[in-house]
């Protein structure tokens, strides 16, 4: 601690004693001795408690006090941009991985290669934290999408969980009844909708930078066909993934596309007997390709960057990674840790199987991803509502995506 800060603190203490509350809060907040700040959007459980716990553990291990600043997801990036302009960035940031390129492109983030140990991590996990060939973000745990199915419903209908697109379409149609749809998924007009569609796009060989291709059009034709059959409610255009889980829990859908982070909520429901299988693929033998989800830790450059990296190293240690992934129902970022965790949580198996082939959404597009994602979910809506045919919707999306890529 520098003498100046100590003097300020002492003066503050004296002032505080004599005049109860004063302006000292301001001084200490500006230069908190031995304190690191973390910005994140883990407002919901179990992530909220898990994060507080792990930061407490790692703060103790590295001898610093770690303070969280929690905000809703949509506010994190605007806040960080503002902080960047004012040069008051937090010491650690936990951001959604597709947002990382924007943050890294500002030049405010510390390159992590050689500063933190990432040996033994999944290659796909590190790719999700890479921008322009430089590692800026590391995730202790990641997630992906899989197919959840209601075991009781399947047993009664004498069906097996679907493995191919055809089986998915057939069983979804067969299981659709008056008060129950065969399948629930999120097609909401935000990044969530694009992320849920990407496995269908990539699984069929389509690409985000080639939305007009035949493979892309075929995948959208198939996907909107699920709505056309009446197997998926059109309300899905307005459902976030948490809404999808509610539909499934409420028995209004026999299957759903959702992520591993829902496991805890589903397990808490008594009387719900569900199974999880990898997402169906176009043809038997294909590998499902899911987008890689989850938050990455990043360290903004600054005076306390070394201390922050030390805390990050602690968060990424195998032991802490295990606890974190267990509490969050994430897939640990290292295969050896994942292998250990799946013994305890067998439901994670389909998610773990998906990680090696999982793709980061921003690998090809970088900072242009958000604009392309917007073009994509608009095409989804146009196709489902019948405003445009899949081919024309994707052609328009490709045009928008192209101009977005040129701009960035």
């Amino acid at each position: 601690m520098s003498t100046r800060i100590r003097a300020a603190t002492a003066a503050c203490a004296a002032f505080t004693l004599s005049a109860s509350l004063g302006g000292c809060g301001l001084i200490t907040a500006e230069t908190p001795p031995n304190t690191l700040t973390v910005a994140d959007y883990y407002t919901a459980e179990p992530g909220n408690t898990a994060l507080t716990e792990i930061l407490k553990t790692c703060g103790r291990a590295t001898g610093v006090n770690v303070v969280r600043e929690v905000m809703p997801r949509a506010q994190l990036v605007p806040k960080l941009l503002r902080d960047g302009a004012a040069r008051t960035l937090p010491d650690l940031v936990l951001s959604d991985n597709p947002d990382l390129p924007k943050l890294a492109s500002t030049g405010a983030l510390l390159p992590l290669k050689g500063r933190t140990d990432t040996t033994g991590f999944y290659k796909s996990v590190l790719e999700a934290g890479t921008y322009n060939g430089e590692l800026y973000g590391v995730a202790p745990g990641v997630n992906g999408l899989a197919l959840f199915y209601d075991k009781a419903v399947f047993r009664k209908a004498g069906l097996e969980p679907p493995k191919t697109w055809k089986e998915l379409r057939d069983s979804a149609a067969e299981l659709t009844q008056t008060h129950r749809y065969g399948l629930a998924l999120s097609a909401v007009g935000t990044e969530e909708g694009s992320w849920q569609y990407e496995p269908f796009l990539w699984g069929n060989g389509g690409e985000l930078d080639g939305l007009g291709s035949k493979a892309s059009v075929d995948s959208l034709t198939y996907w909107s066909g699920l709505f056309g059959d009446g197997s998926v409610s059109k309300s899905a255009l307005n459902w976030q993934q948490s809404d999808v889980a509610e539909q499934f829990i409420g028995g209004h859908a026999a299957m759903m596309v959702n992520g591993s982070w829902q496991l805890a909520a589903l397990d808490a429901e008594k009387g719900l007997d569900y199974g999880v299988v990898p997402l169906p693929v176009p043809e038997r033998g294909d590998t499902p390709v899911t987008p890689l989800g989850g938050e990455v830790w990043a360290v903004p450059k600054g005076e306390r960057q070394d201390k922050a990296t030390e805390v990050l190293d602690c968060v990424l240690s195998p032991e802490n990674m295990y606890d974190w992934a267990r509490l969050r129902a994430d897939v640990p970022a290292r295969p050896d840790v994942a292998k250990r965790l799946v013994k305890r949580q067998p439901d994670l198996a389909p998610f773990i199987a998906g990680v090696p082939a999982a793709r980061a959404r921003t690998t090809e597009l970088g900072t242009a991803y958000p604009a392309v994602s917007e073009a994509l979910y608009t095409a989804l809506h146009q196709s489902v509502t019948g405003t445009l045919s899949p081919a024309r919707a994707l052609k328009a999306a490709q045009r928008d995506a192209r101009s977005a890529v040129d701009d960035h």
Partner: protein
């Protein structure tokens, strides 16, 4: 004003010019008077002038995420404006903004007026009911928006259940998920939110109409419609103008209600200029274009604000 009181008497028209003493005093007075403007001028400059100027400047810049950090945003002339004016979405969102604003205003005003007239009559619990009707106004828009999202859900929403059981529709209405219905849905929600404001102001306007006029009209044999047509409506006109103009400026920039209900979807069917501007800036991170769209919105609001100010001035000079 107290400062004016001690103004020294300036000699009336005389051959001698006012002494330098008197001139200094006059200047001091003027300064003192001006100083009363300072707080409000500072406030306006700081909280309106600065952001608007910054927004206008930004709309001529290639402003990216990097610009936030290194402060470097090259000027690109009219490129942002060209980009938005040639975008298909510009025409669409402008049209949606017009439809949304006009439909909301008409419905809010008509319902507000009807309720105000209804509550003018005295009946048991009348004032309690009137107070209860203010609730939509007090609720945060996010809350009412979320509630409407549930009410209007295609499969399990209350609205569809009621319509179905009354046999008014044969299939559930896809309120929020069909491009043909989504605009109606957001207008319905916005009308519900806006009616209390209209009702309160119009109710206040009704109170100021002297009851003797109605008595006289009754003696002359005017019916209910006649009284409304020849007394209420003309005397309520100034208040109506205020309500409509404020409502217009408020509705043109509406954002949250659409954001909660449909995020501008499905397939951009409810994309307004405000939501499009937000999307360009904060989803696509094309801040220059977002600023350009919001400037268009500012110009529209300003035009109506000027119309309003002129109307008020004409009103005052008539008196």
């Amino acid at each position: 004003m107290t400062t004016v009181v001690d103004r020294p008497a300036v000699p009336a028209a005389g051959p001698t010019p006012p002494s330098s003493d008197a001139r200094a005093a006059a200047r001091r007075t003027r300064l003192a008077r001006m100083s009363f403007y300072v707080p409000s001028v500072l406030y306006l400059l700081l909280f309106f002038g600065y952001p608007i100027t910054a927004n206008v400047v930004m709309s001529f810049q290639d402003y990216t995420v990097t610009s936030f950090y290194d402060g470097d945003a090259p000027f690109n002339g009219f490129a942002n404006y060209t980009a938005i004016f040639t975008d298909d979405l510009f025409g669409a969102s402008l049209w949606h903004t017009v439809v949304f604003t006009f439909a909301s205003l008409v419905a809010q005003f008509a319902l507000g007026l009807a309720l105000a007239l209804y509550f003018r009559r005295r009946f048991p619990l009348g004032s309690v009911l009137r107070a209860l009707l203010l609730l939509p106004w007090l609720l945060p828009l996010l809350v009412s928006g979320t509630v409407f999202r549930w009410l209007l859900d295609q499969d399990y929403g209350v609205v569809n259940q009621v319509l179905l059981s009354l046999h008014l529709v044969s299939d559930p209405v896809p309120w929020l998920v069909s491009p043909d219905h989504a605009m109606a849905a957001v207008v319905i929600a916005n009308v519900w939110i806006g009616v209390p404001f209209n009702m309160v102001i119009l109710y206040g306007g009704l109170q100021s109409i002297p009851p003797q006029l109605y008595e006289a009209a009754s003696l002359d044999g005017a019916g209910a419609w006649g009284k409304f047509r020849h007394i209420t409506w003309p005397l309520l006109r100034p208040v109506s103008a205020v309500v409509l103009m404020l409502g217009l400026i408020y509705t043109v920039k509406a954002f949250d209600v659409v954001m909660v209900l449909t995020q501008g979807g499905p397939a951009d069917a409810t994309q307004l200029l405000s939501t499009w501007s937000y999307q360009l800036s904060f989803t696509n991170l094309q801040f220059g274009r977002g600023a350009a769209v919001s400037n268009v919105l500012i110009v529209i609001a300003m035009v109506f604000a000027l119309v309003y100010l002129r109307a008020v001035r004409a009103e005052q000079s008539e008196r």
